[in-house]
Amino acid sequence: MTAFALAWRTARRYRARAVLAVAGVAVIGALNFDMLLLSRGLMLSFADLVNSTGYDIRISGGSGGPLSRQPIDNATPTMKEIGALPEIAAVAFMRTATAAAIRPTRPPEGLELIGSSDPAGLGIWKQVAGSTLDGAGGDVSLPPAVISRPMAERLNLTIGSTLGVRVRLAGELSAMPAVSLRVTGVADFPFESQNAFVVATTMEGFARAHGGVLNDQAEFMFARSRPSAGPDAAAAAIAKLRPDLRAFSNEQLVANFAKNAFAYFRQISVVLSTTTAAFSFLLVATLLTVSVNQRLGEVAALRALGIARRKIAATLLWESALLVGLGGLFALPLGQLLAMVLDRILRRMPGLPAGLHFFVFEPQSLVLHAAVLAATAVVAAIYPMWLAVKLPIAQTLRQETVS
């Protein structure tokens, strides 16, 4: 009978404790797996979010980092200049303002107003109904607007509806009059928080909302490189053309995000995955040690019969591997479920982009999970194995007989 077979039979014989141990490892293993998902989840999610847009370069003004909102002056000629580069396929810029939806006999509802030079927003929003900003529908004398899904549902707005918007101007002593926009489409805005009220309009609509007086400034400028050039070459070309601007590829954006944003969750994932691994080790080691202590007579008899120490040690190692291995397998679906729950909790954080997730699966997590479990199984078995192979046979037989 092989050591594995002996270990399996032992687990079956002591079914209750084996089932409970596997359950314990499964639960703690699920948490450990989730912490592995969390460690790179935000970065992967942000990368997916950014790469799902229609741009692969972000341009900012001055000395700011890629995520800063350093304004770019003379946005329109700058956009044309950059757009003329052979490496660039498309360019667009955007501005935002805090505004309110004005409805008769209803209190105003706060919203984010986005002005975009590109009718499709260069992929910043995902159309779910109607058309982009160049669509027809409603009163064509009014500037078009694409609104967020929560806003459409909550304010009962449909394609063709007219929406009153008043911009709030910080530092100004007067309130702007409301302007009317016509709803041409409904979209998801994954970069805005869940349930956010967002209205995207053309730069003309944005200027009209500001009373027609608006400086030619961009808050964000995005570009799409030509496939033949690639984002790095395109970013280099922009930097050469305009040394006063900074161009970042999506990859650099993601790297910057990974370094600076939500560092707390990376740290907590390291702390918790270390703690859960240590926890699993302690628990499995304790269980096995107590189990060996309970079976000392058996072990001594086997040694007296001539069963090699190697085999006894291997049996205990397999016992550990069975508990941890089975528990680790069950940990995967449990971990996925737990990740969904934890993700739902964390995504309620205010201001978090709706398209961002904390727990993202990648094959590397599975490999790490398996490695952690394997190490746990081996290390947890060390002391019980040592106990079993080192026990004094004669003394143990005597003690077991007397007790």
Partner: protein, 279 residues
């Protein structure tokens, strides 16, 4: 750029403006990073091109108030008189630049009552449509509520996992006592008496374990805070074992320990006496 209206604080801190460059305060981190000393004269500009550059004298150093939302950001900051800051920040195209700020912090007289902040915010927003007022408690507290729930979820999962292990250990312990229990049953001791003994024993062990656990956690918090405070160069407290948390831990641990022991013993006692004494 957000401008905090600190006139009263800054003026009180810096005292009367001397002749020469205006005074500023710098954060400890900036002092160290730029190798500055008190009394040094530095040049601050509105942007990296050096626009609107002006000279200032480092009058003092301050420790930035620990901010959980910025704990991973190196606090490279300086505090200026408001008018100095406005002159640096504004590009002058806004005719109201000397009078334009983006945020005003208001400290109410009855600041201990959260309802008063909400009422004041609503009243102000209604009376001044171009002003958006909100209690500072709201945004910060929502974030921490989320983090609190996240940690609680993790704690719940950990307790469930460790309960499974505890039950496994208790089952082994009960097995060890199989013969003893069998002999007791054989001589006429009732299951109820045996269970009572088990429960009392479990209660004592669970209380002792819970107290030891709390003491270990209290010791560990010191190291956790040391590590994170050193890592992020902050005085923020990351972990604190409060009385409520200690009581909550004991309230969870004790019944779990007692129930685990009782369940394990019940699995033994439900067998027949002969099965217990038989080897």
């Amino acid at each position: 750029m957000r401008v905090l209206a600190l006139i009263a604080v800054v003026a009180a801190t810096l005292g009367a403006a001397p002749a020469g460059p205006p005074d500023i305060l710098v954060s400890r981190q900036l002092l160290a990073r730029a190798h500055l000393a008190i009394g040094d004269v530095v040049t601050l500009a509105g942007d990296s091109s050096g626009a609107r550059a002006r000279r200032f004298r480092v009058a003092g150093v301050y420790e930035p108030t620990p901010d959980p939302m910025k704990f991973n950001v190196e606090r490279i900051e300086a505090r200026l008189h408001l008018d100095d800051l406005l002159s640096l920040a504004s590009d002058g195209t806004d005719p109201a630049w000397a009078d334009a700020i983006s945020v005003i912090n208001v400290n109410l007289k009855n600041s201990s009552d959260p309802a008063s902040a909400t009422a004041f915010s609503r009243s102000l927003s209604a009376r001044t449509p171009f002003i958006f007022a909100a209690p500072t408690r709201d945004q910060a507290s929502t974030t921490f509520l989320v983090i609190d729930r996240f940690h609680t979820a993790i704690a719940v999962v950990t307790v469930i996992g460790s309960t499974a292990f505890l039950l496994a250990l208790m089952v082994i312990r009960a097995e060890e006592r199989k013969e003893t229990v069998g002999v007791l049953r054989l001589i006429g001791i009732s299951s109820r008496t045996i269970m009572t003994e088990v429960i009392v024993e479990g209660l004592l062990v669970a209380i002792a374990g819970a107290v030891v656990g709390v003491l270990i956690a209290a010791g560990a918090q010191h190291f956790v805070n040391l590590i994170f405070q050193a890592r992020y160069d902050t005085t923020l407290v990351f972990m604190r074992v409060s009385r409520t948390i200690a009581m909550r831990s004991i309230v969870v641990a004790v019944p779990v320990g007692v129930v685990a022991g009782a369940v394990a013993s019940w699995t033994l006692l439900r067998r027949g006496t002969s099965a217990l004494v038989r080897r």
